[in-house]
Every structure is written in structure tokens, then in C-alpha cells.
């Protein structure tokens, strides 16, 4: 089965397999009945005549001695196209009989088998129903109830089973979702449909009962995308987690990563920045590699995704599945080791008939969630005085710079935070049209997002368009496409938020003519006007053009066989252009343009085969695929323009010009096989193997890696001994073991190469080469061996449900960018070295705390933790202090001095840190040699959080819905750049909450203003744990009764607040985001955390 088919399942008739194996608590009587009735009423009229003929004419060839009836039925299924359905409680199929059926028809055999019992049968097309002769199905007398059943979008639902509880009496809804049934006032109607939560509604006085079905999140029969196909949740053996669907709509987010952060156990999303259009980083179950890429592999609609996550419009997403254990990811071979994220977009629905038009949009305002206010003018002046005192400097003026003194004397101050920031806003509009007939289904959507940031000049716009089409050409051929286009626009010059925080309050942004002053703190030239960037021209676009096509052949001659061809071509284009001119203090003017083009094609041949025999079910999937990626970049720069009039549109007008091109590419060839076997839906087995060849591996290797895995599952709840335990709805034990790979190195790492460089001789630059990369021709993939034990459970009618999993991974031949002694002439080299281990626990829990007719409260909890450990680096069990890698420790540790406080006046430094001054950082003398040296550095902790978690509480009352989502990250240490401004502290402004030691206040946390001279490279590591009220959504579904008057199917109004509050001990703007200090990194990512309040509506016509 393929990803494209899950939508079809919506109204699909039941497969033979599922009917036959239905039994026990997991698949209740109610369910069985509904299936039976579905078939009766849909098929009876059409096929009964023909069926009867077939039953009479088909001859059997079998003979049994003392055999159970159910085995005989199984054999009949094997020899014919018939399938049986029956209820264990009604029909005794365990009875053993003798049977000689050589040359007999099916009808004859059945008559013989059930002669003398109260069991009878009915043949409907290829299905044979067994039931008790006195079944009350057709014997009733009551009032007539009618109504319409709709889905969560208000769409009529055909094929929904409606049964009077406790009987097999029922019906199914027609194409318009309408039904009619006879029942008494004391009866209860049960509405059920695959993938939807069943609803029980007492009849009472009502003669019309309209029902809206809701999708069931943890339902056992949920169909889940698993990669190169999909599976029933209950049949899955690997670790596959679905991201809650509620996270995918109604949130004012621009990137799917923002939506799913904290929502799923084992998935760690970190947002390093709030800059509009920024994404973040993802990790699944920790880090398996040291230097190679550790981001999960994203598969979009079955095809390896190529682009940035911004390219995927969250509103187009139908579902997201996270594959975590070896069994689930092994089918992705050398790209699976970091976990796999399967994203499926929405597709057309053939049951919809008339086109369904949906609009989903929201508008909101953005503010700074937490302000790190700069010091007041008074404190700013005091700080300079204190700096001079503490450094023994004579103070000659109230402030260091002439312009500051002028403003000070004139009493002019500026609130620079106010100058550089603004009220942001966001609007997002999505329009989709979907629908279809039996032959063609379509989903077409367009979206426009516009975000104006809270720092001046920052903005993000996204325009996207998607077209998903499926067409059934004939009985055996189906074709389709998934095509989309996304344009990301981050144009515009930015205000420099870092400088905005640094500017003296005694400086002004504009001169008397209203132009920006280049150096407001003149003659200080270290900090230029933070608003200068707004005068520059900046174009920053990225474009993703993706076209996927598939053809699926289901030949009639081999039942269960399917061949699918996927072909995909993707073009990513990134385009930038920039012009900085005189107003930005570029006195000659500089224009720079760049174009990056990456093209990627993938061809996949997928062969699948499904076969049932007896209680055995087998699925086979085979893959043969190839992929090729080509990258090309061109870049040009021109300087020295006459004036700024032409911006970047006429580069030849500049005097000095430079340009560059880059190119590389890689190829991948893969074969994969997977077998899923299940016996009686109780015992499950999955075997997979994938072989990948990757061009970027060393010339000395054969470039191929093989990655096998196996998984076992045991549906305990399906066992007969669990029959009586009604409170256990689901209980499944899973185990998997296997290997996956990581190839994540860039092309061209395996050859020693020289960079091209330039040097001027006689007024012209000549090109030279400089050897700077040492290649490794033996470079190969790294291998992760992983085991996973998991329990899926659902108790008390799924009031309590969840999954607990423990895992252990060991990675060897790690792709390691190993630092080399500089004596070699190189800095580092890629090598397969070292071993690493992760042991972890993922817990997902969903509880329905209160469930009444009107009020419902449910809680979703997830928790993940893992312990990461380097087992070995170079095969000799030795640490690598130079790289900060220690055996037995996590990969990312903080290795530094241990700060114990601040040296106070009068304390004896001679025994610990001779030379330390009062106000200096006090370090612990770890080795007791009475001095602080490099040997006193210790491991202070790990950088990655020790555990992360998320909790959603959802309250619904009638049509109102309130959802509160909390997200947390605990136990990580990282360097806090806001704790030190080193030797700049005296000449720039600092946060108001920033303190410093003085002889008077004797602070034991903040060092003095002269302490930077003796920092010794201390990086100020601090705990960045936090608990965030990530979002709260309050929504209202307008009642159908109201909507019907306006011919509206569905209307939901909502208000959402995002990043509402953060609980943390971290000093600074935000613990999760990264901030660079001046002169390092990229100031454009320094951006305050953003709170968004938005109002939205979803409307369906």
C-alpha cells in the first residue's frame, strides 16, 4: 500500500484479511457487526445473483481428517476467491470434523459442515457470512430514526455503519451521508467508521439524529505511513510516532518545526532564532555522530525531501510520522541513522463529490516575549565611572566620547531598543479546493504568508502553490502527481539589534536633516548606527520547485502484486542581491549577487506483494532507486560606484569586480527489501535490508553499505486469554534490532585538495593554490546498531493510552572530523573513528480525564531522555582534550574552569590564584597546585538537555475548545554571551539587569569591570533549562444549525497565543536561542524571542 492510498481508506470496503481475523476485544463484536452489515447492504443487491452462481459452480479439491472448521474455511479461501466472515461468539468454528470435499461446490461443503447446527450462511459476491439462524437482525419493530453523518469538516460521510447497540441490526449511510433505521426509544445507536472514534447516542424522543464523526488519534485501526507504504497501527512492529494533528493547523507558525516542537517523544527541535523565516534544528533520539550531519531524513509524500523545511506549507500537511527505531528507519539505509520524518500532504477525496473549498487564515500581532532592557542613562554614566575606578584609570570626562558628552550636557537621551524595534505582525492565508470522482481526485492549494518582524527591517513572505492529483486510468493503472512551488522572500535590510542594545543612551540616531548618523557615539567607531542596515538594498529569495509523479500498476493476473514507479525532479534556487552604499558607511558602494542552483532527481521502483493464507499475512516490498544531485553557484561582487543610484542592477558600473563559481554533485543507488509477516494479528514480524551506494565515499572503498534489521511484535490484547479483560483495549509488545547508516558528509571530502587563493603582484591579483584539505580515500559510512523495546497500551476504552519505549544505539566507524596537530599543516581530516552510545527512554501518554456529553478534558504528555556517551575515539581509549571529547562522557560537554564565585577584597589569593584581583572570577583549584592552570579545567556538564517534554491539556465544552501546550527542556549547559562584554563593557550599553562586582556590593556572581583581563577564556557556561507556555488556543465551532442557513459546511473561529511565557533562570533574551557577541558569528540572528497573538478562522464551503 502506498502513502497515496490512505485517503482512499476513508471509504474503502473492508479487505478480506481484516474481516477474517477480527476477534477478541481489540476488534469488538460491534466492529464485526458493522463490517458485516456494511457488506450486506452495499453488496447484496449488486452481486447476489452472480455470487450464487459462483458458489455453485466453483469446485473444491480438499480432504480433511479431524480438522477444525476454521482451518477448513481457511483452505476454502485459499482455493477460491471467497472470504468468510463470522462472529466467534455466534459460530463455533473450533469444532473438529471429517470432510471429503473432492469435486464438491462450496455450497455443498458448507451445507455439510453446518448440518444439524443453528448456523446458516449467506453468499454475497465473494464473501460468505456465517451467522445464527435466530439472529435478530431482521426481526424488529420500532419507530424510524433518520439523520446525516458528517466528518470533522462537516462533509457528508457515506459508508458509516449505524447499529442498534446490542444487536446486529443496522444500516450504513448513503452517498449523502444519510441513513434511516428503526429503533425504540430505549435503544442506543452506535456510529462507527474505520479511523474514526465510534459514537454512541441514545435515541430517546429523537426522530432525527445527526452525527459528526471525529478522527481517532490512538485508534488501533489508524492507518499510518511507514515509508514505502503504510500499515495499520496495530500491525506496526517498529517505533513510529505520529505528530498530533492538532499541531498542524490553527497555530501562527511559519515553519512545521515550530509547530511540532515539544509535541512528540524522541523528537528534539531547537529554535536558535526567532528571526522571521528561520527554522531551527531537529534531532531524533539524540546524537549518533560526532561531526557528520545529525538531522533526520525528511521524506515528503514518499520522496526524499529536498529543500528547506520552510518550503513545506504547514497547512498542506495531512500527517507527520516520526520513525525512530532501527526497524522503522533501516529501509532508508545510509540516511536513516538520524531518524526519519515522513510528511504526507493532503489529497483529494473521491467521496466528496462536489468540490470542497476551504479557507484557513489568521492575522496576529507580534511583540517581544521578554525584554532585556538596556541600562538607564544614569546607570550608564555610573558604569563608566565604576569602570575607570576599578581599572585604576583617571576619569577625565563623564562619558568617553565627545558626542556623548554633548548630548549629556544637553540632556538628550535615546531609547535605542525603542528605535530598533517595532510592533510586528503576521498574516497567513490558505485556500484549498479538493474533491474528486471515482476516476480523478485533486487537491489544489495556494497560500500567502506575510510576517513583519519585531526588529525593524526583518520580514518574511511565503507564497506557495500545491497540486496533488490522483487518476485511476483503468483497472490496473493509476497515476498521479504531487507538485508544489514555494517562494520564500526574506528581502530587506535589517536593523542591527546587537548594536541597538549597545548604543549609548546619550547618542541620537538622526542628524538635523533626518538622515542616520553613521557613528552616533562619535568618535567611537566600534558601534555604528544600528539603523544603517535599513538603508541597504537586500534581496533574499529561495525557491523550491518540486514535481513528483507516480504510476501504479496492479495487474489482475497476480493478486496482491503491485508495481509503483516514482519519479521526482526538484529544483532549489536561492538568489541574493545586496547593495550597501554611502548611507551604510560604505563610501564606495558594494553590490553583491549570488545564485545557488541545486537540482535533484530521484527514480524509485517499488514492487509490493500481499498474500494471505490461513491466518498468515505477508507483505513484501522491494525497492530499486537512484538519485543524483547537482549543485552550482555563481557569485559576483562589484565595488566603487559613482553613487548609490543603480543599486545592484548594473554591476559593471563598479570599478572593481570579482566573481566566483562553485559546483559539486553526488549520486546514490539503493536497493531495499522488506517483509512484514503476521500470524492471526497476534504475532508480527518485520525483516528489512537496504543496500546503499554513495558517490562521496572514498575511492578505496566499494561505496556500498548493507543495513539489515528485524522486528517482532506481539498483540497481547488479541490473545484468547485476554478475552475477558474489557478494560484492556490495546496491549502490544514490540522489539526491534538492526543497523542503519549515516552517510552525511558533503561531496568531495575524500580527496586532498587545494583551495584557490589570490595574491597581488604588480597591481593585479594572481591566482594561487593553497593546500588546506587532507583527504581520506578510505572514508566510508558510519553504522548505528540499535535495539528498541516498546509497549503500546490502551486501557479503559482508550481513556488511558500511550507508548513507552526504551532504546539503545551504538554507533561505530563514526564520521569524525578529527582535529590534527597543526604540525601536519592541516586542521582536521574526515575519518571513520570512534564509537558512541545512546540509551534512552521515550514516553507518550494520552489520558481522557473527564468525558461527559458536553465537557471533555484530555491530556497529552510526552517525555524523552537519553544518555549519550562516547565509548571510544581513536581505538586507544584516550580522551581528546583538544576536541573536548572524553571517553564515557556525552559528545557535547562544557570543559572549563569551575567558577566558585568572585574574589573579594581581603581574601587570600596566594594559595589558589596568585595574581587574581578583587572582582576577578574565582576558579576552583582542582588539582591543588595553588595556581589556576589549564589542568584545573573540568567537565562541568553537557550542552544538550538531559530531558525534554511537552504537555497539552485540551478542554472542550460544547462547541468551545481550549488547548494549552507547555514545552520544556531541562539540564543543558551552554555559554552565555550576555554575561560578559569583556573589554567592551565600558564603552557600550549593557542590559539593565546586568550587574558587576564593586568593592561595596561584594557581589559573588558578577565579576568586576576589570576582571576580563583575567578570564583565561572562561566561557560563562550556564544552565539553559526552561519551561515555556508555548501556545494556548481557544476555538469555537459555529453550530451547524447556524451555518446551514448560509450554506457553509464548517466554520471555526480561534484565537491563539504563542510563546506566552518562559520560566527560566537563564540571564538574557531567551535560553533556547543563540546570541552572538560583537565580532563573532552573525549579528543578523540576534533577535528577541517573539510572542504572537493571532486570530484565525477556518471555513469550509
Amino acid at each position: 500500500m502506498t502513502v497515496f492510498e490512505i485517503h482512499k481508506l476513508y471509504c474503502k470496503t473492508m479487505k478480506k484479511k481484516r474481516l477474517y481475523s477480527c476477534r477478541g476485544n481489540l476488534c469488538t463484536k460491534k466492529f464485526w457487526l458493522s463490517m458485516k452489515l456494511t457488506l450486506i447492504f452495499t453488496l447484496l443487491a449488486t452481486f447476489s445473483v452472480y455470487a450464487g452462481t459462483y458458489a455453485q459452480s466453483t469446485k473444491l479439491n480438499m480432504k480433511f481428517q479431524d480438522q477444525q472448521i476454521k482451518e477448513i474455511l481457511g483452505e476454502i479461501e485459499n482455493q477460491t476467491q471467497f472470504s468468510f466472515m463470522y462472529d466467534n461468539n455466534q459460530v463455533d468454528v473450533n469444532r473438529k470434523v471429517n470432510l471429503d470435499a473432492q469435486g464438491k461446490s462450496v455450497a455443498e461443503v458448507l451445507d455439510e459442515l453446518f448440518a444439524g447446527t443453528n448456523t446458516t450462511y449467506k453468499v454475497i459476491d465473494r464473501h460468505i457470512m456465517l451467522f445464527k439462524k435466530d439472529d435478530p437482525t431482521y426481526t424488529y419493530q420500532n419507530q424510524t430514526i433518520s439523520g446525516t453523518v458528517t466528518d470533522s469538516n462537516g462533509e457528508p460521510m457515506p459508508g458509516v455503519t449505524v447499529v442498534v447497540k446490542g444487536t446486529t441490526r443496522g444500516t450504513i449511510t448513503d452517498v449523502s451521508g444519510n441513513y434511516t433505521i428503526d429503533a425504540s426509544g430505549s435503544d442506543i445507536l452506535v456510529f462507527s467508521f474505520i479511523g474514526m472514534a465510534s459514537q454512541e447516542i441514545p435515541v430517546g424522543e429523537q426522530s432525527t439524529i445527526n452525527v459528526q464523526m471525529k478522527e481517532e488519534a490512538v485508534g488501533v485501526d489508524e492507518v499510518v505511513v511507514v515509508g514505502y507504504g503504510s500499515q495499520k497501527r496495530s500491525d506496526i512492529t517498529g517505533s513510529v510516532t505520529s505528530v498530533p494533528k492538532e499541531r498542524l493547523g490553527k497555530l501562527p507558525v511559519t515553519n512545521l518545526m515550530h509547530a511540532i516542537e515539544g509535541s512528540t517523544a524522541g523528537l528534539n527541535v531547537t529554535q536558535n532564532s526567532s528571526v522571521p523565516g528561520s527554522s531551527g534544528t531537529m534531532q531524533i533520539r539524540g546524537i549518533n555522530s560526532i561531526n557528520a550531519n545529525t538531522s533526520p531524513f525528511i521524506v515528503l509524500d514518499g520522496i526524499p525531501f529536498f529543500g528547506q523545511t520552510n518550503d513545506i506549507n504547514p497547512n498542506d500537511i495531512e500527517s507527520i510520522e516520526i520513525l525512530k527505531d532501527a526497524s522503522a528507519v533501516a529501509i532508508y539505509g545510509t540516511r536513516g541513522a538520524n531518524g526519519v520524518i515522513l510528511i504526507t500532504t493532503k489529497r483529494g477525496n473521491k467521496s466528496a463529490g462536489a468540490p470542497k473549498i476551504t479557507y484557513n487564515g489568521h492575522v496576529g500581532v507580534e511583540t517581544m516575549e521578554h525584554k532585556l532592557k538596556p541600562m538607564s542613562p544614569e546607570r550608564f554614566v555610573q558604569k563608566y565611572a565604576d569602570y575607570n575606578t576599578q581599572n585604576g584609570l583617571a576619569q577625565t570626562s563623564v562619558l568617553p566620547n565627545a558626542s556623548e558628552i554633548e548630548n549629556y550636557n544637553a540632556g538628550i537621551t535615546t531609547d535605542w531598543l525603542d528605535e530598533t524595534t517595532q510592533l510586528g505582525n503576521i498574516q497567513d492565508h490558505n485556500l484549498s479546493i479538493s474533491g474528486g470522482t471515482d476516476h480523478v481526485q485533486y487537491y489544489v492549494s495556494g497560500s500567502y504568508l506575510d510576517e513583519k518582524g519585531v526588529v525593524k527591517g526583518y520580514q518574511y513572505k511565503r507564497t506557495s502553490f500545491r497540486s496533488n492529483i490522483d487518476a485511476k486510468i483503468n483497472d490496473y493503472l493509476k497515476v498521479g502527481t504531487s507538485a508544489f512551488f514555494t517562494n520564500n522572500n526574506k528581502d530587506g535590510g535589517h536593523a542591527n539589534f546587537l548594536n541597538g542594545m549597545a548604543m549609548s543612551p546619550y547618542s541620537v540616531p538622526r542628524d538635523e536633516n533626518g538622515n542616520y548618523i553613521i557613528y552616533p557615539m562619535a568618535p567611537e567607531q566600534l558601534f555604528s548606527n544600528p539603523l544603517l542596515g535599513l538603508t541597504t538594498d537586500q534581496l533574499n529569495r529561495s525557491l523550491n520547485l518540486t514535481g513528483n509523479g507516480y504510476a501504479e500498476v496492479t495487474p489482475g493476473f497476480a493478486k496482491g502484486l503491485k508495481y509503483r514507479l516514482n519519479a521526482s525532479y526538484i529544483m532549489n534556487i536561492a538568489r541574493t542581491a545586496s547593495y550597501t552604499g554611502r548611507a551604510d558607511n560604505d563610501q564606495s558602494g558594494t553590490a553583491t549577487v549570488s545564485n545557488d542552483n541545486t537540482s535533484n532527481w530521484v527514480i524509485e521502483n517499488i514492487l509490493s506483494y500481499t498474500k494471505d493464507f490461513g491466518k498468515n499475512h505477508i507483505d513484501f516490498t522491494g525497492l530499486y532507486s537512484a538519485q543524483k544531485v547537482d549543485y552550482f553557484r555563481n557569485w559576483a561582487q562589484s565595488k566603487s560606484f559613482i553613487n548609490d543610484a543603480l543599486s545592484y542592477y548594473k554591476m559593471s558600473a563598479g570599478v572593481s569586480q570579482a566573481n566566483d563559481t562553485r559546483g559539486n554533485g553526488y549520486t546514490l543507488v539503493s536497493q531495499m527489501g522488506r517483509i512484514n509477516y503476521s500470524y492471526d494479528s497476534r504475532y508480527l514480524l518485520t525483516l528489512t535490508a537496504r543496500r546503499d551506494g554513495y558517490s562521496a565515499f572514498g575511492a578505496n572503498t566499494n561505496k556500498y553499505g548493507l543495513f539489515p534489521s528485524m522486528a517482532l511484535g506481539w498483540n497481547i490484547a488479541n490473545e484468547s486469554f485476554m478475552q475477558g479483560m474489557d478494560q484492556v483495549n490495546q496491549l502490544k509488545l514490540r522489539f526491534s534490532y538492526g543497523q542503519t547508516g549515516n552517510q552525511a558528509i558533503d561531496p568531495n571530502q575524500t580527496e586532498t585538495t587545494a583551495a584557490t587563493v589570490q595574491y597581488p603582484f604588480g597591481g593585479t591579483a594572481l591566482t594561487g593554490v593553497l593546500y588546506n584539505t587532507l583527504g581520506n580515500v578510505n572514508l566510508n559510512w558510519e553504522t548505528t546498531t540499535a535495539s528498541n523495546v516498546g509497549v503500546d497500551f490502551g486501557f479503559f476504552n482508550f481513556r488511558v493510552a500511550g507508548t513507552v519505549e526504551v532504546y539503545k544505539t551504538k554507533t561505530k566507524d563514526i564520521l569524525l572530523k578529527r582535529n590534527l596537530p597543526g604540525i601536519t599543516g592541516y586542521q582536521n581530516v574526515w575519518a571513520n573513528l570512534g564509537k558512541m552510545q545512546n540509551v534512552g527512554l521515550d514516553v507518550t501518554l494520552k489520558t481522557v480525564n473527564i468525558s461527559t456529553d458536553d465537557f471533555k478534558w484530555s491530556t497529552d504528555l510526552n517525555f524523552s531522555t537519553y544518555k549519550n556517551k562516547i565509548l571510544d575515539l581513536y581505538g586507544d581509549g584516550k580522551d581528546d582534550i583538544g576536541n573536548r571529547w572524553f571517553i564515557g562522557q556525552p559528545i557535547h560537554v562544557v570543559y572549563n574552569y569551575e567558577k566558585t564565585g568572585i574574589w573579594q577584597e581581603g581574601e587570600d589569593v596566594s594559595q589558589t590564584d596568585p595574581g587574581a584581583q578583587p572582582g576577578d572570577l574565582k576558579y576552583k583549584d582542582q588539582n591543588g597546585d595553588h595556581q589556576i592552570t589549564a589542568d584545573d579545567r573540568v567537565i562541568l556538564g553537557q550542552s544538550d538537555p538531559k530531558w525534554i517534554g511537552g504537555m497539552t491539556n485540551t478542554f472542550s465544552y460544547k462547541n468551545f475548545n481550549l488547548s494549552i501546550f507547555l514545552q520544556t527542556s531541562q539540564g543543558g549547559l551552554k555559554s552565555n554571551r550576555d554575561l560578559t562584554y569583556a573589554d567592551e563593557a565600558w564603552r557600550r550599553n549593557l542590559p539593565a539587569d546586568w550587574h558587576y562586582w564593586t568593592p561595596e556590593n561584594k557581589d559573588n556572581y558578577w565579576p568586576g569591570l576589570a576582571a576580563y583581563k583575567n578570564y583565561r577564556g572562561y566561557s560563562f557556561p550556564e544552565d539553559w533549562s526552561y519551561l515555556r507556555i508555548k501556545d494556548i488556543t481557544f476555538s469555537y465551532n459555529v453550530p451547524k444549525a447556524v451555518l446551514n442557513q448560509y450554506k457553509i459546511d464548517d466554520l471555526t473561529l480561534y484565537v491563539t497565543g504563542r510563546n506566552l511565557y518562559t520560566f527560566t533562570k537563564w540571564f538574557g533574551w531567551d535560553p533556547e536561542m543563540n546570541y552572538d557577541s560583537r565580532g563573532s558569528g552573525d549579528w543578523t540572528n540576534n533577535y528577541p524571542p517573539v510572542r504572537t497573538i493571532s486570530f484565525g478562522l477556518n471555513i469550509t464551503l
Partner: protein, 560 residues
């Protein structure tokens, strides 16, 4: 039915065929080709050798143009006998080199310099190896030897720095083909032998200065370097021989008259340091090795970084009200170092051209063209005393403080002066680097002669320079090692690697203590040399190198 089946078969077969076509030859499909970087095999011809040689200059220059960090140039000047650290001005990488208690094994500057030198050595090794093993047919033996000589010069230059500053160091003479982490320190005498043999080869195979392309290695460069190495290894006769060869070559002469564009005030000595007049082709007859540098705003690829020399040596006079940056004041400086009082007040005799206002700037005059400074423009800026000027009208007062002499008005050398009105902030300094000139050749020969007890000869060499500078001549009885080192300061301050000279001559500790002082001055506003100990003559072996060199022990220098 059969017809339908045929259709399926066709479909399946054609799909498989399609894939087979694309991936038909799996091996070639997975072959990798480096498209945008050169591999060694692609460089075995004359153009490849030429490019490899240019790469050496590129890397060589990176130390001169580094901004990582901005104070790092000071490591070779602070804590010696010539410069002080105005409080707060050199607290980056350079600081441990005047505040010796903080010079430890994790020192950044030592680590960076070490790595820089070995990278130069590796690239030189590759060129030397390729020259020895070339199969190129577009070069003859002489051409190959010339490239080898050019690489040998750089290799010797780098090892000379290593052995001077660290003593025994690991010696690598061939390119690496795989990672290596078992280096040990070779004895200084072995390293010296390699340096001398490389330089001898360079002397024999490099073209003379007229035959060499400008700014490329020439024979005299190799001789001058060799002379210095001979002096360091106590072979003064051989040193003298090399110096004499340069002096008598007839290729160079001291600049005694003004030359080139003389439309601005100046003198012969300062002309050599003027942008546009530094190169041999621009009239500088004294130039042995001038490394070219172009303003990248005009010549793409004109520099490998943002040279900090002007900012390190120049004063921050732009911080004084009423003063504005200009060409004759040398552009914008930050006074990361300040010449010490010994250099400023004790070193030069009367009329010494090397101390003229065109080379060492001492007196400022208010020059801000803004109308509010009309009242003071043209007046001398008071030095060392608190003074208040009334600017008249609404313009208030202008105050000058005694403390401004610490870095805002500190006298400074104009050898690194450069001003581009398009770029007043001047993060980079865009002028050539004078690395070797004939003036120093005389000083090296004077040292060689002194060491051979030829005091007359030494005095004669020194007087050649003093005559050019219009300074009083000296007699042989005045010649001591200290006098020669003083004379080097007079002639080469700002140019030479002062620390290297003092370490080479074994005089660092004494001179740093006696001439620079060991206690803070001006209420702590000026730091001198703090806590230098005997072991500080050598740098610490970078701790990173010891840590990464995991398969053998790199012994640390004693004291660290």
C-alpha cells in the same frame, strides 16, 4: 486477457529499462569528481607550480593581515624594550606577552603562530616534493630548481621562526598523505641545519632581484635571511659574507634623497614608507623584500585580510575634540601599543632623520574643519596638561587632559600610516609591507663584525646609516651589542620583529626589564613589562598540539 497482460509486461519492462539505463554502470554512476578544487595531480605543470608558489605568498601574508585577534601583532613588540600597553588597549591575544604571568600553555597567540608556520611549511614541502618528483614536460631543471628554491626560502623562514621562539620543534620535510599524530621535537641543531641548507639552496637557485618578478623571492632575500640565521647560530663570519654579498651586489643603495612624488612634506627616510613609493619599481632603491598589498576596494584579491598595523601602532587622536583624521596624521589608530619613553626621549640624538616629524609624530594641531572649532583651529594641542579652550558663541568649551597622552595623543610611528577618505574607520590598513631592506643589511653586518671583534668595521656600517640619517657618527669604541640593538631600534622600530631580535641575541630579559620597566606607570594607565622570567624567552608549546599529538609526547618547554 492476454493482451492486457502484455500491457503490464511492457510497462514493467520499460520502467526497469529506464532505471537500468540510468544506473547501467553502477561503478561510474558512483564515481566522484572534484569539480571546484584543484587536486595535486592536476597541478603538475608550470602553471600549477606557479600557482603553488603564489599560494605560499598568500599564506605568508595572512599573519600580517590577520584580525584574529586585533591585538595579536603586539606579541612581538610588547614586553620587549620598545613598547608599552596603554591600559585596556592590548588585552587580547597580545596581553600575555607583556603580562607574563598569564603566558601559559593554552596561550592563543602562540597556538595561532605555530599553526600558521606549519601550514606554510606543509605547502612549501608539497612544492619542494613536487619539484623533486615532477613529470611535467614544460619546465627544465633550472625552472624546477627555482620553484624549489622559492619554497625552500619560505620553509627556512618558517623554521627559523619556530626554532627561535620555541627551541626544539618537530621537523616535517615531506608532504603528508595521511593523518599523523606522533610528532616529537627535533633538536634545534638539526632544525638549524635544515634551515641553512634550504637557504643555501635558495641563494644558489633564486634569481637576483632584477631577474626576479617584483615581490617574488630573490637571491638577496635568501642571503639576508641566511645572514640572520648565521648570527643566531654564532657563525658571524658566514653572516658577514652574506651581507657583504648583498651590499656589494650593486643592486641596492640607501635612500638618501627624496624620490617619487614629493608634493607633500617629508624627507628621504619617510618617503620609503609612503603608499605608492615603497616598492623597488616605485623608486625605493633600498627595498630587498617588499610584500605587495592592494586595497581590495580597488583590486579584488588585493589583500588576505584587514591588516591592523596602523591601528596597533597609530594613536587614537581622533578621540580628541577638534582633531580630525587626515593623511599627514596617518589615518585612524587605536594605540594598542605605545612607544615607550626610552624610544621617545632617550634613543635618538639631535637631527636624526629617523626621528623626524615625518616618521615619529609627536605634536598635533587642531584641524577639525567644523565651524565650531574656528577658534582653535591651527593651535597646537597641549600635551601632558589639563587645558580648557573657549570655543566662543554657543560652542562651549574644549577640554584637553593630561591623561590624553596615554593613548589619544601618544607619539607614534608613521611607518604604518595610511588614510583612505572613502573609509575613515579604516578597519584594514592598505599599504605594502617592507620586510627586508638594505638598512638592516648594514645592521646585520655590523653585528657580524662586532662578533668577530671588528669594531671598526661595525662602526663603519653603523655610520653608513647614521650619515644617511644626518645623525652624529660613532667611533669603534662606542660599539657594543647594546649599541647595535639600540641602533636597530632607531632604524627599524615598527618594522622589525623586536622580540625575535632580542631572543636571537639573548637580550630579551635584560632589556625588557631595564628599558621598558616592570611596574605600571601613570597610575596604572600604562602597563610595562610585568612578571617576565627567564623561561619566558621561549614560547610554550601549544597545549592543543600536545593534546592532539596523541601517539607521542611533545615535551613542553620548561616553566610552562
Amino acid at each position: 486477457m492476454k493482451i492486457i497482460m502484455k500491457k503490464y509486461i511492457k510497462l514493467i519492462v520499460s520502467s526497469w529499462l529506464l532505471l537500468t539505463l540510468i544506473t547501467a554502470c553502477n561503478n561510474s554512476f558512483l564515481d566522484e569528481k572534484v569539480l571546484d578544487a584543484y587536486a595535486p595531480a592536476t597541478l603538475d605543470n608550470k602553471l600549477g607550480f606557479e600557482a603553488s608558489a603564489i599560494g605560499l605568498y598568500n599564506h605568508f601574508s595572512t599573519w600580517l593581515t590577520t584580525t584574529n585577534d586585533q591585538t595579536i601583532l603586539g606579541m612581538f613588540q610588547l614586553g620587549t624594550d620598545i613598547t608599552w600597553n596603554p591600559m585596556g588597549r592590548s588585552n587580547g591575544n597580545a596581553r600575555p606577552y607583556m603580562d607574563y604571568a598569564t603566558l601559559t600553555s593554552t596561550d592563543d597567540a602562540a597556538d595561532k603562530y605555530w599553526n600558521y608556520l606549519y601550514k606554510l611549511i606543509n605547502n612549501a614541502n608539497i612544492l619542494i616534493y613536487n619539484a623533486d618528483n615532477s613529470s611535467a614536460n614544460d619546465m627544465n631543471a633550472d625552472e624546477l630548481a627555482a620553484y624549489k628554491a622559492e619554497a625552500s626560502f619560505f620553509r627556512a623562514w618558517a623554521y627559523n621562526k619556530l626554532v627561535t621562539f620555541w627551541g626544539d620543534v618537530p621537523m616535517v620535510t615531506e608532504p603528508l598523505t595521511e593523518p599523523k599524530t606522533d610528532f616529537t621535537r627535533a633538536s634545534a641543531s638539526d632544525v638549524n641545519a635544515l634551515i641553512i641548507s634550504d637557504l643555501q639552496f635558495a641563494v644558489s637557485n633564486l634569481p637576483d632581484v632584477d631577474a626576479a618578478k617584483e615581490a617574488r623571492a630573490n637571491q638577496s632575500m635568501a642571503r639576508q635571511q641566511l645572514a640572520e640565521v648565521y648570527l643566531r647560530t654564532d657563525q658571524p663570519a658566514k653572516a658577514e659574507e652574506q651581507c657583504t654579498a648583498i651590499i656589494n651586489s650593486g643592486k641596492f643603495s640607501l635612500v638618501k634623497e627624496r624620490y617619487g612624488d614629493t608634493s607633500f612634506p617629508g624627507d628621504a627616510f619617510s618617503d620609503m614608507f609612503r603608499v605608492g613609493k615603497q616598492r623597488r619599481s616605485q623608486g625605493n632603491t633600498e627595498a630587498i623584500w617588499v610584500l605587495e598589498q592592494e586595497n581590495p576596494a580597488d583590486v579584488p584579491g588585493g589583500s588576505t585580510g584587514y591588516p591592523q598595523q596602523r591601528r596597533v601602532w597609530g594613536a587614537g587622536y581622533h578621540d580628541i575634540q577638534g582633531l580630525t583624521m587626515c593623511d599627514s596624521l596617518g589615518g585612524r589608530g587605536l594605540t594598542r601599543m605605545r612607544l615607550d619613553n626610552w624610544v621617545l626621549y632617550d634613543l635618538y640624538g639631535k637631527n636624526d632623520m629617523r626621528n623626524s616629524r615625518f616618521t615619529i609624530h609627536r605634536q598635533h594641531y587642531f584641524n577639525d574643519p567644523a565651524a565650531k572649532y574656528d577658534a582653535v583651529r591651527g593651535l597646537p594641542v597641549p600635551y601632558g596638561k589639563d587645558t580648557t579652550f573657549e570655543l566662543g558663541g554657543d560652542n562651549g568649551q574644549l577640554k584637553i587632559f593630561a591623561i590624553d597622552t596615554v593613548y589619544k595623543l601618544a607619539p607614534y610611528t608613521l611607518k604604518w600610516g595610511q588614510f583612505d577618505p572613502r573609509d575613515t574607520f579604516g578597519y584594514g590598513m592598505w599599504k605594502d609591507f617592507i620586510l627586508m631592506r638594505l638598512g638592516e643589511t648594514y645592521l646585520l653586518r655590523a653585528e657580524a663584525r662586532f662578533k668577530q671583534n671588528d669594531l671598526d668595521g661595525a662602526a663603519a656600517d653603523i655610520n653608513v646609516l647614521r650619515n644617511r640619517a644626518h645623525a652624529a657618527t660613532v667611533s669603534s669604541s662606542q660599539i657594543t651589542m647594546n649599541f647595535i640593538l639600540d641602533e636597530r631600534a632607531r632604524e627599524l622600530v615598527g618594522e622589525e620583529n623586536r622580540r625575535e631580535t632580542l631572543v636571537r641575541t639573548g637580550t630579551l630579559i635584560d632589556r625588557a626589564k631595564s628599558l621598558n620597566g616592570t611596574a605600571p606607570l601613570a597610575d596604572g594607565n600604562i602597563e610595562t613589562t610585568n612578571g617576565i622570567q627567564d623561561y619566558n624567552v621561549l614560547f610554550p608549546i601549544p597545549q592543543n598540539e600536545i593534546d592532539l599529538n596523541k601517539d607521542a609526547t611533545l615535551e613542553q618547554n620548561s616553566g610552562y
